[in-house]
């Protein structure tokens, strides 16, 4: 089925932070930042949970599974949300998909 095929396509993607993009904790502000060329993103709690799992090894499927377990939520819904979030960053060249 078409929807499943799309789902499988998304799930297999392994996102990574490219060279020149850094996720770091700033002590002076006690806050996490995603830094790139002329870009400063302040991830909220959920965004941070996703970004901390973007390591070039975990697939979107794996990330969604971990988050679903941690937050007792529906895995497929989470996978879709994770993908939407990562696509937004990929458009800014802040994540490689």
């Amino acid at each position: 089925m078409k929807a499943d095929a799309t789902h499988i396509g998304i799930a297999a993607i392994v996102p990574a932070l490219p060279r020149g993009v850094r996720l770091r904790f700033d002590e002076s502000r006690q806050q996490w930042f995603l830094l790139g060329p002329e870009r400063v993103f302040e991830p909220d709690e959920i965004a941070l949970e996703i970004l901390q799992r973007v390591d070039g090894a975990r697939s979107v499927e794996a990330i969604a599974q971990e988050l679903a377990a941690a937050f007792a939520a529906d895995r497929d819904e989470i996978a879709a949300d994770v993908m939407t979030f990562l696509r937004g960053l990929a458009d800014q060249r802040m994540v490689d998909l």
Binding site: D26, R29, L35, D91, R93
Partner: protein, 376 residues
């Protein structure tokens, strides 16, 4: 039930000033190129005045402790400093996101390798024009274009994250699509298409650089078209020419709000043109800590917030949006750094400024006054 209400009210605290986001480290004013719109001041610092390696390292440590996130190694040409790789490594180890802004000219290829090895996060390479002859003439350096292509290839080989910097004026304003194609061909993830800002050298050369309103409109449409064509592959950031704009730019994101600039000899400035404002005095990082200068320095506090504003800014609904525009431009064009930036359509000087820009844009092309140590 509250005795508390009868107690004197505490004075409402001023909002706490956040630390700076970025530090522009102008390592040197030395540069092989002589671009007529250079953002360095008309009076350039000499090599003998430059901060030492130890002084820059101390400054980097102070910046990291203060909360700076991005450091921009710039100049002049930063790779003319023999310690550039050492400073990049130091900043990287301190947790800073390291950027370097280069002309691509005047250093040995091995220096770039060393900088990449030191952990540079992002490199910005300037291109003066797509046409090689124009590129060389604007840069005031024969062979500049050829050299930049070689450096771009080296950057790709090293896998560094690249931004192409294109400064736009009347002699290359028709090349917007070409700049975008070049950025793609070089494997850049981002291009900055920035119209000349008219301070210092740019102001001296304004008549030679100012495009017509029609050229600017065409260029803006071409940027939009390129954005849709390259969406998801290339980030295109553009800086508009403010003379033709309706509202002024929110210069530096507000005076003393986001950025610090340190000159080769250690003067800490709220922006690179701040020294053109008469009556301001600037602290040197040789005498004060970066934190002291950011929070308590006289220059950094001179135009913070909105209390300094006059009309029409003071009662303007946009005053927290664009902060009355640029203080240096107000100084240069209105003779008063606290005036409304004449780039704003609400400034009484705006119409005159637009007429001047249009007249200059229509004037004959003439030779550039090149940037150099001899001054204007």
């Amino acid at each position: 039930m509250s005795d508390v209400e009868t107690l004197p009210q505490a004075t409402p605290a001023r909002p706490v000033l956040p630390p700076p986001m970025g530090l522009l480290a102008e390592l040197t004013h030395r540069c092989s190129l002589r671009c007529p719109y250079c953002s360095n001041p008309l009076e350039l610092d000499r090599r003998s005045q430059e901060l030492s390696t130890a002084e820059w390292k101390r400054l980097i440590d102070e910046a990291a402790a203060l909360g700076v996130l991005h450091i921009y190694f710039s100049g002049g040409e930063p790779m003319l400093r023999r310690d550039i790789a050492e400073l990049v490594a130091h900043a990287s180890a301190a947790g800073l996101y390291t950027n370097m802004i280069t002309s691509g000219v005047g250093f040995q290829p091995a220096v770039l390798d060393a900088v990449a090895e030191a952990g540079l996060d992002h490199i910005q390479l300037s291109v003066q024009a797509i046409d090689a002859k124009t590129c060389d003439r604007v840069a005031g350096y024969e062979g500049a274009a050829e050299r930049k292509h070689a450096v771009a290839a080296a950057i790709a080989r090293l896998g560094l994250r690249l931004t192409v910097n294109a400064v736009i004026h009347r002699e290359n304003v028709h090349e917007i699509p070409g700049f975008v194609e070049l950025a793609e061909a070089w494997g850049a993830a981002r291009i900055e298409i920035a119209h000349v800002q008219y301070y210092g050298w740019g102001l001296v050369n304004r008549a030679r650089l100012m495009p017509t309103r029609r050229q600017v409109e065409t260029a803006m449409a071409q940027v939009e078209a390129a954005r849709s064509r390259t969406a998801g592959r290339l980030v295109i950031d553009s800086v508009l020419p403010d003379y033709y704009a309706r509202y002024p730019k929110a210069c530096m994101g507000g005076w003393g709000a986001r950025l610090m600039n340190v000159t080769p000899s250690g003067r800490a400035l709220p922006c690179h043109a701040a020294e053109t404002i008469a009556g301001l005095s600037f602290d040197n990082i040789r005498d004060s800590s970066l934190s002291e200068i950011w929070y308590r320095g006289a220059a950094f506090n001179a135009f913070r917030g909105t209390d300094w504003m006059k009309e029409p800014c003071r009662s303007c609904a946009r005053k927290e949006q664009d902060f009355g525009g640029c203080r240096c431009q107000a100084m240069a064009l209105a003779g008063d750094a606290a005036a409304t930036d004449p780039a704003c359509s609400l400034s009484p000087l705006h119409e005159k400024l637009v007429a001047l820009a249009e007249a200059e844009a229509a004037s004959e092309l003439s030779d550039f006054i090149y940037r150099g140590y001899q001054g204007v």
